[in-house]
């Protein structure tokens, strides 16, 4: 009985747990409940991925109503993989968050924090798993609202978290509303909300202007959620001033869900033969992605706060993801899918290391990092490993993504892009080196005693670093799943 209901359990478990955790008065109990629930949903998503890999796709009808009338959950390799990333990272962050949150959030808010965390977690999962367009909007809204609040909770440490949260709220709402307008217009010309049904009925509407407008709205809306280059301005402040555990979570998952949604609408709903899609990819996505890679990385070099630096580097990494999409080839999409997974690992490890520094120093700036190489060896070593993975040094996950990206760019015949990819990761070397140099080559200013981060934070950090290296070496599993997802998106026979 359980196996059949797995798809809905993936969402209902965290969704029901959220109000339950609101009943807990003490933060410890709420944390403990959240941990169990996240672990359970991670297990469910693993089971789902296994089932999907051999059954192709699973369909679950909510309320037992047939597809276009009721809401249908349709899980295939693409969203099963993203589910795994989100629930995996959600579970990894919680043990880390225990101490980090206790330090960075007011005591009376800590219990409700985990409710908000579970809501965000459920929202992201709901957004990814659903096969209904409007349902995706609703769950996107849940995750967004929860994220605005989570970011605003960083105000105890730095008041700029509030203005960052407000900017993020306005931008997020505009983005979500664009997305709703897009769905509305698509609904107007097709009459249905189910994604699979939409895809079928959109075939004949190439020339329909309203469908064009709908496409523009959807791409812009999700692009904003995805922090596509010109619309990324909310991301650096949101990541920099949010509490560290929150930054780790949203950096590793929020944008991934948005990328998934973009992939789903571009390739499954509108399909590759939709005339405007090809144009968008080549004339809009590629230049924006390249702009993101270079501008964001260059800005990251001059940043003083490390979390903002890593936030800008996230924008750059998203540039890589979008670049993968712009090739619209099986290798390109495989690169994108794999980079979702790899980027989650990389940024997770990096932000966790920075979170440990924030725990010990109150702020993670180039100055506070000075001389940490000796006083916080394990944390800085994790940062270095994460940094190497970010640059794409072989034997790390970063290398695998860069490898597929370069392969895709060569395969599409546009070799200059491959050169640009390598160049931009060189820029990455500069800003990572800036931190490493400050940590290892400079003396800590006298009178600063820093103990190593607590074990409860180090174990998850090094768990991620281990994953970074393991999946860097044995990338068979991730590339197989990513390949299957890419072929599914491009309607290519598996």
């Amino acid at each position: 009985m359980i196996a059949y209901h797995l798809p809905i359990l993936q969402i209902v478990v965290p969704l029901i747990a959220a109000p339950l955790s609101a009943f807990c008065r003490r933060a410890g109990m709420a944390w403990y409940l959240a941990l169990i629930i996240c672990a359970a949903s991670f297990a469910i998503s693993v089971a789902l991925l296994v089932r999907v890999l051999d059954e192709g796709h699973i369909s679950y009808l909510l309320g037992n109503w047939a597809a276009p009338w009721g809401i249908e959950y349709r899980i295939d390799a693409v969203n099963a993989f993203v589910l795994l990333i989100i629930s995996g990272m959600g579970t990894m962050v919680l043990p880390y968050a225990r101490v980090s949150i206790a330090d960075e959030i007011e005591p009376h808010n800590q219990a409700l924090f985990y409710t908000c965390y579970l809501l965000c977690f459920a929202g992201l999962l709901g957004m990814v798993i659903t096969g209904d367009a409007f349902n995706a909007f609703v769950f996107m809204e849940i995750s967004s609202l929860a994220t605005y609040v989570l970011v605003a909770l960083g105000a105890k440490r730095d008041r700029r978290a509030l203005s960052a949260a407000f900017t993020y709220l306005v931008m997020g709402t505009i983005g979500a509303t664009f997305f709703v307008i897009g769905i509305g217009l698509v609904y107007m010309v097709t009459g249905t909300l189910n994604m699979a049904d939409l895809a079928a009925r959109l075939q004949g509407l190439e020339q329909n202007r309203t469908a064009l407008v709908a496409f523009a709205f959807i791409v812009t809306g999700i692009g904003l959620k995805l922090a596509l280059f010109p619309m990324h301005l909310w991301l650096p402040n949101a990541y920099a001033f949010a509490p560290s555990a929150v930054t780790v979570f949203i950096a590793a998952t929020a944008t991934k869900a948005a990328v998934y949604l973009m992939l789903r609408f571009l390739f499954t709903v509108f399909g590759t033969d939709y005339n405007v899609l090809g144009l968008t990819l080549t004339y809009m996505f590629t230049p924006l992605a390249l702009a993101a890679m270079f501008a964001a990385s260059t800005v990251a070099i001059f940043q003083f706060e490390i979390k903002r630096m890593l936030a800008y580097s996230s924008v750059a990494q998203l540039g890589y993801t979008v670049l993968g999409i712009s090739f619209a080839s099986v290798t390109g999409l495989t690169a994108t899918m794999i980079h979702l997974f790899n980027h989650a690992l990389m940024k997770g490890a990096l932000f966790m290391a920075v979170g440990a520094i924030v725990l010990r120093h109150g702020a993670a700036t180039i100055d506070s990092v000075r001389g940490l190489g000796r006083t916080m060896p394990w944390t800085m070593a994790a940062f270095v490993a994460g940094g190497l993975s970010l640059i794409g040094v072989p034997l790390t996950v970063g290398f695998i993504s860069k490898w597929y990206l370069v392969a895709a760019s060569l395969e599409s015949g546009r070799w200059p892009i491959a050169v640009l990819i390598v160049l931009s990761s060189l820029i990455g070397v500069i800003y990572i080196w800036r931190v490493i140099e400050a940590a290892y080559l400079e003396k800590p200013p006298e009178g600063r005693t820093a103990r190593e981060a607590p074990l409860s934070m180090l174990i998850p950090t090094w768990g991620l670093v281990g994953a970074n290296i393991y999946f860097g070496i044995d990338a068979e599993l991730t590339s197989r799943v990513a390949g299957a997802a890419a072929r599914l998106l491009l309607w290519v026979a598996p």
Binding site: Y148, S163, L169
Partner: protein, 131 residues
């Protein structure tokens, strides 16, 4: 562009006008509360878009009355019920943030907040480098 085109699409044009007004308020006005009001207008225009899409001329409200009648399309109504609640939720959160910003910064004008931030940021950096 015959007359019935204008008549037929006037609703949608007005929706677009409202949408653009809402967007303009959010873009051009610096006051945070004003921005939220602008956001509300922007979202309300979307509600009107959906509902005017669902209207069937000569149809009545989608409540079954036993007599055979033409009903308007209920689906947009359901969607918009959800959208309204989402809108209110966002407004509530936005206003809560505005209150917190007022407590933290003492002002709800975006430009003033930004100058305060820049000052704080450059101070942090200079002290950081000097040490």
């Amino acid at each position: 562009m015959s007359l019935d085109d204008v008549l037929g699409l006037f609703n949608y044009w007005m929706v677009i006008v409202l949408m653009m007004t809402g967007l303009y308020i959010v873009v051009s006005r610096g006051n945070l509360v004003k921005k939220i009001v602008g956001l509300n207008i922007f979202q309300t225009s979307v509600f009107l878009l959906y509902i005017s899409m669902g209207k069937v001329s000569g149809g009545t409200a989608p409540i079954l009355t036993g007599k055979p009648e033409v009903y308007s399309n209920p689906l947009p109504h359901v969607l918009i019920l959800t959208a309204i609640v989402v809108g209110v939720a966002t407004t509530a959160l936005g206003l809560a943030l505005v209150v917190r910003i007022k407590n933290a910064y003492g002002s709800i004008e975006e430009d003033e907040i930004q100058t305060m931030d820049l000052v704080a940021e450059s101070e942090a950096e200079t002290t950081g480098h000097r040490r």
